[in-house]
Each structure stands twice: as structure tokens, then as C-alpha cells.
């Protein structure tokens, strides 16, 4: 790209439209390219804006749980956990310990399922068609467990303000122990296939670099931020539920490129598996729902609660006016903020790298658009 062109050239605008196999949903990117090099990128979102925040104002606190399931539709239980904790903080109740352990076990398993989907779809974006089959096979195992416990494969509607809806079945602990062993083998399989593969390294090493301070200024959180060396994890910095009783490490990258963001998600899978085992060892007996009113009618006030989703820091700002419906619900979606960092990462790379960078951010359009 350093030779002077002998003729006049004009930058071309290339549309990666809302329907594209590599845009992870209905996301539209308009790339301004000079030859093969991307000069500028303009993301267009809003193709899945369903008005969840506004609908939450006309639904009661229990009904909003179903809306939150569908905000980040890959990590459902983590969303539910954020909303339910916001409601609990507002109502000043605390869930009993058994309920908190069950919630954390399910949330961590959902984190693993989400990261498996990321590994699979990232690989297929870059052209590797095998890991996606293996990753989805492991996801089926986890979804089987969810169906056994909550009744649904995807939209669980299981957590409630004050606990969970129903107790886990009797064979929960041996089932999950077996599951952890199987999923660990599955993650290792995909890890061995991809992480040190020369073609994969060539596609992702040194691509989409962003440094720590600009990442923080852009509002990135989660693995996208930890890949650049900033060790911000809500579970460690602002702990909630029973995370203080667990022993785990948070992987942090160095270079801020796509491979770092990918590999630390793989390491997070292993950490989550060990966390689930610790929870199973510590799972106490007891009630699963706090005593209290059936209909949530919290006192008027405002509260901000954030939790660590697989994609970043999901925040819920809840304003209540004392009635049984929220006054204002604002969801801070991690993928929305991660997309602000797409532009500084993509400028100056090639078109194929734009696909790799978008994949490494791991966006979910249901969350971006709400």
C-alpha cells in the first residue's frame, strides 16, 4: 500500500449488510476501503430494537424477568441474575444461601455455554468448520441440564426476586459433576484444535490491537478490556452473591489483539468449571426463596447493580416510584459499549481482519439494540 497509484482512486464503500453470515446477527457495517485496506468503519445498529426498556415500564417485576432473558439471548441466566439482584437490592431482601449457590452454578454454566458458542462461531467466521460442531455438542449437554432443572433449553425464567423458582432435582449434584468432566474434555478438544493452530494465529495475532487507556475511555468491559491488560472483573472488584467464597483467577491478556481476547475466554471456561465444582462441594441445604410478599412492591428510589456477563459488565439502573411496576429500567449492555471500540480497532486493517475483529468482540445484537 506504499506505492503511489499512477491513476486517481476513490475510496469505495462496502456494505456488510444486515444479512451476512459473519455479522453475528442483524448488524450492518459500512466499510470505507482503499483497495483492501479499511480506512473507516461506520456501524449501524437498531435492526433489533424491540423496546424492552419501555415495555419494562408496563410490566410487573416478575414479568420483566422474561424480558431480560431475551436481552442477551445466549447468556440468559446471567441477565436474569442482574435483574433479580437489582430487584432484591431495591426491596432490601437477600436470597438464602442455597439459592445463591444454585444461581451461581447455573450462571457459570451459562458462561461456559456462551463462551463455547463464541469459540465455535469465531472459528467458523474465520473459515474453520469443525470446532463449531464440537462446541455445539457440548452446548447441548449444558442445555440438557438446564432443561432438567429449569424446564427450558433457552429462555429459563427461573430466578425470582428473593431466590429461585423451584428447588433443583435430586440428581442435580451427580449430574453436574459428570457434566463438568464431559464439558472439560470438550473444551480441551476445541482448544487443542484452534488455539495454537498456525492459520488461526496468523489470522488473529496482532490484529485489532487496542491499548488499555483507550479501551477504558471507550467503555469496553469484559474480555475485550481484559485482553488489553486492564484487570477489571466485577466478580473480583465488586463482588456479589457467593463469589467471595470461591477461589478463582481472572485471566488478563497483554497485547490487546484478537488472539488474547479469544484465549482468555477459553481460560475463563476452565476457571468457571473449577468454580462450579467448588460450588457443588459447598452447596448447603435450606430454603430457596426469601420469605416476603408475592408481588414485588419496592420502596421508591434508584439503584444501580452490575454483574459480570460473559460479554462484559451488564448494568441495570432501576428507578422505582413505589408501585408494582418499575418507573424506568435502563440496561447497560456490554456489547453496545464494546462496539464503540470497533472503530479504533479496525482502522488500518484489511477487510478480512474486520471480520476477525468483529468476531473477537463477541457481540450479541439482542443486547446491543435491546
Amino acid at each position: 500500500m506504499t506505492t503511489e497509484p499512477q491513476f486517481e482512486t476513490v475510496d469505495m464503500m462496502l456494505n456488510m449488510g444486515p444479512q451476512h453470515p459473519a455479522t453475528h446477527g442483524v448488524f450492518r457495517m459500512v466499510l470505507t476501503v482503499d483497495g483492501e485496506m479499511v480506512v473507516d468503519v461506520t456501524p449501524h445498529i437498531g435492526y433489533l430494537h424491540r423496546g424492552s426498556e419501555r415495555l419494562a415500564e408496563v410490566e410487573s417485576y416478575g414479568q420483566v424477568i422474561t424480558l431480560f432473558d431475551r436481552v442477551d439471548y445466549i447468556a440468559n441466566l446471567n441477565n436474569e441474575l442482574a435483574w433479580v439482584r437489582a430487584g432484591e437490592k431495591m426491596m432490601e431482601v437477600e436470597a438464602p444461601e442455597r439459592a445463591q449457590y444454585i444461581r451461581v452454578i447455573l450462571a457459570e454454566l451459562n458462561r461456559i455455554a456462551s463462551h463455547l458458542l463464541f469459540i465455535g462461531t469465531y472459528a467458523i467466521d474465520l473459515g474453520a468448520m469443525t470446532p463449531v460442531m464440537y462446541c455445539f455438542r457440548e452446548r447441548e449437554r449444558i442445555e440438557n441440564l438446564f432443561e432438567h432443572v429449569t424446564g427450558a433449553r433457552m429462555m429459563h425464567n427461573y430466578m425470582r426476586i428473593g431466590g429461585v423458582r423451584s428447588d433443583v432435582p435430586d440428581d442435580f449434584v451427580p449430574w453436574v459433576r459428570r457434566l463438568v468432566g464431559e464439558v472439560r474434555k470438550g473444551v480441551e478438544e476445541s482448544d487443542n484444535l484452534l488455539s495454537t493452530n498456525e492459520v488461526f494465529l496468523g489470522r488473529t495475532r496482532g490484529v485489532g490491537v487496542i491499548d488499555g487507556p483507550s479501551a477504558v475511555s471507550c467503555g469496553l468491559t469484559g474480555p475485550a478490556l481484559r485482553g488489553s491488560g486492564v484487570p477489571y472483573d466485577v466478580r473480583k472488584d465488586d463482588p456479589y452473591e457467593i463469589y467471595p467464597y470461591l477461589n478463582y483467577k481472572v485471566p488478563v491478556g497483554e497485547n490487546g489483539d484478537c488472539w488474547d481476547r479469544y484465549y482468555l475466554r477459553v481460560l475463563e471456561c476452565y476457571e468457571s468449571l473449577s468454580m462450579v465444582e467448588q460450588c457443588l462441594n459447598q452447596l448447603p441445604d435450606g430454603p430457596i426463596m426469601a420469605a416476603g410478599r408475592r408481588i414485588a412492591r419496592p420502596p421508591a428510589g434508584e439503584v444501580y447493580v452490575h454483574s459480570e456477563n460473559p460479554r462484559g459488565d451488564l448494568g441495570v439502573y432501576l428507578v422505582s416510584d413505589g408501585t408494582d411496576k418499575p418507573y424506568r429500567v435502563k440496561i447497560r449492555p456490554p456489547s453496545f459499549c464494546n462496539l464503540v471500540g470497533l472503530r479504533p480497532m479496525t482502522k488500518g486493517s484489511y477487510i478480512a481482519d474486520a471480520v476477525a475483529i468483529l468476531g473477537s468482540l463477541d457481540i450479541v445484537l439482542g443486547e446491543v439494540d435491546r
Binding site: H20, G46, Y47, G51, R54, L55, R137, M154
Partner: protein, 239 residues
Amino acid sequence: MALEGNNDAQSLPLFVPQKWDREKGGHFFHTDEGGDESLGKGNHPAPNRISGTVPGVITAKLDDLIAMGRSNSLWTLTFGLACCAIEMISTHMAHHDFDRFGIVTWPSPRQSDVMIIAGTVVKKMADPIRLLYEQMPDPKWVIAMGTCATSGGPYYKSYSVVMGVDHIIPVDIYIPGCPPRPEALMDAFMKLQTKIKSDAKNHQIDDLRDSVEQIAPAPAPDAALVADSVPIATEGTAG
């Protein structure tokens, strides 16, 4: 509504939705004025040319064969909008394999047969969906997966959601569920295969009827018999 606009990537036509008026002829079905009900609503491909020129028994088996070929090799457009897309992807993957039906997912609309609308249809997305539908060549079918595509779903009465994709394109199969299980999606495809084969048979019946009409038109009813009979249709009944 006609989609005008240049194909210049700088100013892609953005959809400003107007109120869709069913009476003024805003329906998108392929049926003619007569509205051939026996062929069913939704999409039905045009009859093949041979049956128009050489009607009768020779092409009946050919139509069946073509329908069997089409139904056992449906290529779907990769078009997942929201949560149902995850279940759609799961159905394509190893556990609930879709490839055994001959269904592969194909990124280009110009070479695919079926469009699965998996997820909520938002007004901003209505224009691209219509564009994609028109880019697909005949024969094509549409499956509305999940309650959001069927009727708006949990986002009913939201300000930016289209209450069901059949306001925009004609739909053949509706799948309820939020999200529907992979087995439900497979059942929908099996029903679509049945529909393709039975539509082909219905074509044959019509062609046969037309060709018999040409050779031996039905005789006019006997005037003597008609005069004594009591007319059935009166003003009250619908015409």
C-alpha cells in the same frame, strides 16, 4: 410498495414504513384475481412450462419427481435475527442434524429456496427482509419461526416491532414457541416437504382439468331440468 432508490452504497434506501392497507391491494400473494384456494396461501411456484404445452399423464410423474427433488434439497438462507437463530443454528449442528434432510444453510439469497425468519421483525429491518425475499428466485418458501415472527410475540404492542412477518411477505409455515425446540423446526420442515409435494399434485389436477375442458367441454345443463328446479342462490347468500 415499490422500492425505488439507487444501488449506490452511500445512500441505501431506508425504509419509511407507511400504514399497510389490506384493501387497497397491498397483499403480496402470488395468487391471481381468482384466488385459487386449493393451492393454499403462501408461496406456490408457477407450474412448469411443460405441463402447459403438453398436458396430461406424461408430465404428472415429472411433476412429482421435481417436487420430490425440491423438497429433499431445500437450501435455507442464513438469516437469523434474534434468539430463535440460536435454536436454528443448534438444529443445523451435530445433535439434531439438519443435513440429513438435505437442508444446508446458504448465505446468498439468490441461490436459496427457503427463508426462515427466526426472530423479531423490527420496522427498521422490514426493508431488508423484503429486499431479500425479492432477491430469492422462484420457487421459494418462507417459514416464520417463533412467536415474534408469527405475531409479534412477547414484544406485542411495542413501538418498533412488526406484529408478525406476514405483514411483509407471504408465509407458508408458522412455528409457535419462544423459542421453538429444534424438533419443532424439523417438524416444520417435514410439513413443508409435504406441502411441496401436495402442491405439485394439485397443479396436476388443475392441468388435467384444463386439458379435459379443451378436449371435451362440459355440456350445458338441460333446459327442461333447470326450469323446474328451485334456484339455490338468493340475494342473502354471498356471491
